[in-house]
């Protein structure tokens, strides 16, 4: 029921632009890439625990967002990526009010740790460390309408990439440590009654696989599959409200495209579509994103 928020929270930046935290592409030294991405996520069915249902008191869940992102090449094979989103969540039926606002700041440091050409296969290993923290005091305990989880997180992703000619495959796994959160009430029921305004947030393990064709960092087409699992948490009970500390799993598949705009040097457009195929305590969401990014050299002479 609350999937959207979590996807945005856990995977902010995923597939949103070239040289994201989940691919093997890097900005050159002193190059800066910045852009805006519009996102739309919607679902009308969700998994309440493992029970797949709809809810006429929610109708469809709709999330619209605008994400600002920037990626800077600190050195060859070392990038810093940052993003933040404004999100508007609402439901189409029932009486519950929507929520909107600025969500979390995400910062990733991405480092190529190994690269080698093995018999024509360009191979590399990349490590990505990330942190995120809420930028505003948004309401978290109002799922699925809340715009995020308001958890401070730290993540580490290890990624392997192999390219032969224009064809490539990327696989990565990420562990996200999530801090407990503070909610507005001082007791709540999980599988027992908890007398605290702190809520335990299970950590998250996710993996991501991409197969595609690319020509440089600005032109590619790829198929994506990803899976996220919270390591613990509890199910939404039948007809109960979801809670941020729920056990949340999702398996998604989709496509991701980026293409340079002719004539306008440095400008690229991108689009992503993802569909949740299975899940637990999350919505069966369809996500569409579209954006523009502009890349420029910060210091003259560095631009390729």
């Amino acid at each position: 029921m609350r999937k959207i928020a979590s996807i945005l929270c856990l995977c902010a930046g995923i597939s949103l632009s070239a040289q994201t935290e989940s691919d093997a592409l890097f900005m050159d030294k002193h190059n800066l890439c910045g852009g805006f991405v519009y996102g739309n996520t919607t679902w009308d069915h969700y998994w309440e625990g493992t029970f797949y249902r709809n809810n006429a008191n929610i109708g469809s869940f709709k999330s619209n967002s605008v994400m600002a992102m920037a990626n800077y090449g600190i050195a060859r094979g070392l990038n810093v990526i940052t993003s933040a989103a404004w999100i508007d969540n609402r439901v189409t039926a029932g009486t519950l009010i929507g929520q909107k606002g600025i969500q979390d700041l995400n910062v990733f440091l991405k480092k190529e740790i190994w690269a080698k050409d093995i018999k024509g296969f360009n191979s590399s290993l990349v490590a990505v460390g990330g942190v995120s923290a809420p930028l505003t005091d948004y309401v978290v305990d109002f799922l699925p309408i809340s715009i995020g989880m308001r958890s401070k997180t730290a993540s580490l992703r290890l990624l392997g990439d192999v390219q032969k000619g224009h064809w490539y495959g990327t696989a990565s796994a990420m562990y996200t440590r999530r801090n407990n959160i503070t909610i507005d009430r001082n007791s709540y029921y999980t599988t027992e009654l908890i007398y605290s305004n702190k809520m335990f947030m299970p950590d998250v393990f996710s993996y991501n696989i991409r197969l595609g064709w690319r020509d440089g960092a600005d032109k590619y087409f790829e198929l994506i599959a990803d899976r996220m699992n919270t390591l613990g948490g509890f199910d939404i009970r039948k007809n109960d409200m979801p809670l941020p500390g729920n056990n949340m799993d999702a398996f998604r598949a989709g496509v991701n495209i980026k293409y340079p705009v002719p004539v306008l040097n440095g400008l690229s457009v991108m689009a992503t579509g993802m569909q949740t195929l299975s899940g637990r305590n999350m919505g069966k969401a369809r996500m569409i994103m579209a954006g523009v990014v502009y890349q420029t050299a910060f210091m003259k002479g560095d631009k390729k």
Binding site: I97, G129, A154, L193, I194, N239
Partner: protein
């Protein structure tokens, strides 16, 4: 070298996130109960239902010189010699107070069972059945009226059982095990009065019996808690087995009287019938009013429309009707339109602070309900006030009888007037919390809170202003949440205070003040 520093930097980022994710719960920090005053005269306090403290008998205890008693002392020594870490945890948990812990167990069961049933394929809703509590929909649906009644019965049964127990304690004057045998160690603070029957076991027996009626699907869990609670008394060196057994027996016997009353207090018929529901609507139309209509989809029958006919403890059934508040503004009146506009304004101009207030007091589905919230508030203060077990029980009985009767009076008004929620009257009004599935006037939160704050102010005058401001905030949270009109919360608060006054009047004459 340089790159290894960068890698270290990546891992360094992880250090920004804290390592310890244990949640500290307030109620597990409570120290052992060591009453400031023993209340030895509690056997003369006025019970709720018992005709006298001796209505139920309590057998003469075995002599402390008997072989059986000596064996029971050995049982204490043997339990203590074989104590495990788990035993220590259990000991620490129960030492905070028996009335307290059973109140928490009840709150937990309310939260567990406070979920509206999922609809049938044809769009109707199944009704939980006490005869089949383990099949979905689980019995009970522990909604606020059901919960208010449960808190009242459990608390009042415990109180009456303790009045009887205190009588017998004074009558039999049985010394504590450690006073009989000075080699017995007391592992928790033990009140220096008489040990037979064990008052903690009396509380447990009464709670077990009463809660078995109210939550029939939880027999195993309740039995486990009962065993744990009485085992702790032996483990702690506070009681021998015959003292706890007599206590459980007395507690269950007294609860039997409350169970018989609960079976005939009309709450079991509060769901009503489709004919009752239809009549509420047609009556409202006949009065020229817009009737309440469920805003749930599929439309859910109104929650416990006949609950107002339930027999309470403080307010007479005829008084419920004669003291019913005057009608809310007619749905056709300018006053109504004005109140509706105010709700719309709160819906469209929510601030973060008002949202905090709405969510803090929402106590909706899946929670221990507003009466449970007030029990939690009361208990956290009572811990600091170091009441004896019997005074704990008496104060919670007064609090919960007040809130039970508040529920009855409030539900009577809701179904006498059957008025629409703001979001029914104006679909531009979006709510900041879940919309309750029953009419608006008067606000349940306000009625519960007015009653609770009034009684608690009497029990703990040093915090009277705090209780009143909490009640005020709880009440306003429903207007801020855009689910109630101002007249709902103001009239509800006054109703609640009037009922609270009745509990205070009882408090002044029950012999405990």
């Amino acid at each position: 070298m340089k790159s290894s520093i960068k890698i270290a930097g990546l891992f360094g980022l992880l250090a920004l996130v804290s390592c310890n994710k244990d949640i500290t719960q307030r109620n597990l920090e409570f120290g052992a109960l060591n009453p400031a005053k023993i209340d030895t005269s509690a056997g003369k306090w006025k019970p709720v239902l018992l005709t006298s403290a001796t209505e139920f008998s309590c057998d003469v205890p075995i002599a402390v010189t008997s072989p059986d008693y000596k064996l029971q002392l050995l049982e204490i020594k043997s339990r203590q010699a074989n104590m495990t870490d788990a035993d220590e945890e259990t000991l620490k948990y129960w030492s905070a107070g028996t009335v307290l812990r059973w109140n928490e167990i009840l709150r937990e069961l309310v939260a567990k069972y406070n979920l509206p049933p999922y609809q049938n394929p044809d769009g109707t809703y199944p009704i939980p059945s006490s005869a089949n509590p383990l099949a979905y929909p689980y019995f009970p649906f522990a909604n606020p009226p059901y919960a208010a009644r449960a808190y009242a019965y459990v608390s009042a049964a415990q109180y009456d059982a303790l009045v009887a127990a205190y009588h017998y304690k004074g009558f039999y004057r049985r010394s504590r095990p450690s006073a009989v045998d000075n080699t017995i160690k007391e592992l928790i603070p033990v009140v220096k009065d008489f040990a037979y029957p064990s008052e903690e076991a009396v509380v447990a027996g009464a709670a077990f019996a009463m809660m078995s009626l109210l939550f029939p699907g939880e027999q195993d869990y309740l039995q486990e808690k009962l065993n744990e609670c009485i085992d702790v008394r032996i483990l702690a060196g506070a009681n021998v087995r015959s003292e706890v057994e007599a206590g459980v027996k007395l507690g269950k016997a007294v609860a039997g009287k409350f169970i018989a009353r609960a079976r005939t207090d009309r709450a079991g018929k509060a769901v009503g019938t489709p004919a009752d529901w239809a009549k509420l609507e047609s009556d409202a139309i006949a009065r020229g009013e817009t009737p309440w209509i469920s805003q749930e989809s599929p439309k859910r029958p109104p929650m416990l429309p006949l609950f107002g006919k339930t027999i309470g403890f403080l307010v007479d059934t005829t008084e419920v009707v004669s003291n019913r508040p005057t009608a809310p503004p007619s749905t056709a009146s300018p006053e109504f339109a004005k109140e509706l506009d105010e709700v719309l304004w709160y819906s469209q101009n929510a601030t973060r602070e008002r949202m905090r207030i709405v969510h803090f007091w929402a106590d909706g589905a899946g929670t221990y309900t507003p009466p449970g919230h007030w029990n939690a508030i009361a208990c956290e203060d009572f811990v600091n006030m170091r009441f004896s077990e019997v005074r704990w029980a008496r104060n919670l009985a007064l609090l919960n009888m007040a809130m039970f009767d508040a529920a009855i009076c409030c539900w009577d008004a809701k179904y006498a007037y059957f008025n629409p929620r703001p979001s029914q009257a104006n679909n531009k009004i979006k709510t900041l919390t879940g919309l309750p599935n029953f009419p608006a006037y008067t606000s349940g939160h306000s009625t519960f809170s007015g009653a609770a704050a009034t009684l608690l102010s009497h029990v703990n005058p040093s915090r009277a202003n705090d209780y009143m401001s909490m009640a005020d905030e709880a009440s306003k949270s429903r207007l801020y949440g855009a689910i109630h009109y101002r007249s709902d919360i103001e009239v509800g608060m006054q109703m609640g205070k009037n009922i609270g006054d009745k509990a205070v009047a009882r408090a002044k004459t029950d012999g405990a003040d």
